[in-house]
């Protein structure tokens, strides 16, 4: 049973999972263009801010809220709020795309309550889809503790952003691994911090980070879709 839980976490947080995460920078390409991210150190600084400001109050808090009330109506409410709570259009669409793929993968592999319903609501364009929620459906039904589920989701997100930075900036493979290891403590802190947040903190953001993600669509030469 424990092995099944481990398998699910390793499987669904594998960066080779075909969700399309390789196509998104979540705004770091804007800073690359402005030459504010040119090396591993600067990239790591940015990644820490993204994790602390955005991912903790959106993805992590959404998973925690679903675990608190694991019903279809809460799933709908959270999907709606995650989409509405992301001011940058490209990031909204990135999450919707990756969330749809994640829901398809979970529906294809694990027989999880609610996933078929979630996928249908996405296909009918009533909901948008979000990878954190699709993962939470799977981990919750497997009896995986909420902290471990959030930890896996944040680790997977950080890992794919690092791989994108390795290709995009570019960074050396080992430099990427050093960033990954350095993020271990920050991911742990984000999991803990998400437990202290209130409902009112959901999707809080700061103007600079939002603008970096919003202005990306006007950038001329782009490697990434967001």
């Amino acid at each position: 049973m424990d092995l099944d839980a481990d398998f699910l976490l390793l499987h669904l947080s594998d960066s080779a999972l075909p969700t399309g995460a390789f196509a998104h920078s979540f705004g770091f390409e804007t800073y690359m263009d402005a030459e504010r991210i040119t090396n591993a150190e600067e990239f790591q600084d940015w990644l820490k801010v993204l994790l602390k400001v955005q991912l903790t109050s959106s993805d992590a808090l959404a998973m925690r809220m679903f675990y608190a009330t694991p019903t279809a109506s809460e799933l709908k409410r959270l999907d709606e709020r995650l989409f509405a709570g992301t001011p940058a259009r490209e990031v909204r669409e990135a999450n919707a795309r990756m969330g749809t793929r994640m829901a398809e993968i979970v529906a294809e592999t694990y027989s999880v309550p609610l996933i078929i319903e979630y996928l249908e609501l996405i296909k009918n364009r009533e909901l948008s889809g979000h990878p954190a929620l699709a993962l939470a459906l799977a981990t919750h039904s497997m009896g995986i503790d909420v902290d471990r589920a959030i930890h896996a989701h944040l680790t997977a997100t950080v890992s794919s952003l690092i791989q994108n930075a390795v290709r995009g900036i570019p960074l050396g493979q080992m430099a990427g691994q050093r960033v990954m290891f350095a993020m271990r403590e920050h991911i742990g802190a984000a999991v803990k911090r998400s437990a202290m947040l209130d409902a009112i903190d959901f999707c809080s953001g700061d103007p600079g980070l939002d603008i970096s993600q919003m202005v990306h669509e006007t950038q001329r030469a782009r490697l990434f879709m967001s």
Partner: protein
């Protein structure tokens, strides 16, 4: 600490049944520190204009303010403030302002506030709930200015939270949850936040006339602006016909942001309703 009775309450309901179809207030209630100046008609469009006054000059810790603006079907209103909203030290607890806005079918509300100045050791929480008919037009702008500090240090306030929800009144669908949170002491790293600027602004516009072309045009104007850094993004969501945009901006001067917001509001009025530019005649 917890205050049950708001320090100021203001309720305005506006319809289009005035003389010659002018918009006018059919219900007006104020209590405590919030008042409105008698209505003005700034042009011949029939749009009524109200200016909110906060008596007492500034918001103090523990204060609760409540506002409710209802613009009925086909009515047009402009609501502004008389001067900047000043948030002083709040050792007694945060200042909270709740605003509820409802804009009906084919109705228009322009809610153009002066800057909010957050002084040293202040905490301000603003909750704005907006419900809109998909045929309505809604324009809201605000600016956040860090208050003066004896050390000349910027960002001496403790926390500013501007929480805005926009919902479709016909389907109940949320289209925007904008939860700006500024906590200077928890800033980390050199990315995000207000970048190298001091002032931040935001504008939300919802209306049938918003399309991707308009968003691209506004982004071009922003890119060419010498003193403002910002971006405009299109807003839409499943389950609603509402569409709009959000603009987030940063600058080193309040005036740059106010002028930009008024410029955009004027451009849209001219285009959508053939109306004269916004002229608040405050200065």
């Amino acid at each position: 600490m917890t205050q049950t009775q708001p320090v100021g309450t203001l309720r305005l309901t506006i319809d289009d049944q005035g003389p010659q179809g002018q918009s006018r207030a059919v219900e007006q209630f104020h209590q405590g520190a919030l008042r409105v100046i008698r209505p003005h008609y700034l042009d011949d469009s029939g749009q009524v204009s109200y200016t909110i006054i906060a008596i007492g000059g500034g918001y103090l810790g523990g204060d609760v303010y409540e506002q409710q603006f209802t613009v009925k079907d086909n009515a047009k209103a402009l609501i502004t403030t008389q001067s900047a909203t000043k948030i002083y030290r709040t050792p007694q607890g945060p200042v909270t302002q709740y605003t509820e806005i409802n804009v009906g079918e084919n109705a228009v509300l322009e809610y153009l506030a002066d800057q909010t100045i957050a002084y040293r050791e202040s905490t301000y929480h603003q909750f704005t709930k907006v419900t809109l008919h998909p045929t309505s037009t809604f324009v809201m702008s605000e600016q956040i200015t860090p208050g003066w500090h004896p050390d000349g240090k910027h960002f001496a306030y403790d926390e500013m939270r501007l929480h805005t929800e926009i919902t479709d009144s016909t389907t109940g669908r949320l289209v925007l949850l904008d939860n700006l949170l500024l906590r200077p002491d928890s800033r980390e790293g050199s990315f995000g936040w207000t970048e190298q600027y001091t002032h931040s602004g935001q504008m939300i516009v919802m209306g049938e006339g918003v399309d991707k072309q308009l968003v691209a045009e506004l982004n071009e104007q922003l890119a060419a602006h010498p003193d403002v850094y910002g971006a405009v993004n299109f807003l839409s969501a499943p389950g609603t016909l509402l569409r709009g945009f959000i603009a987030r901006t940063l600058s080193n001067r309040t005036e740059e942001l106010i002028n930009l917001h008024e410029h955009i509001a004027s451009l849209l009025r001219g285009r959508w309703r053939g109306q004269e530019p916004v002229n608040l005649r405050k200065y």
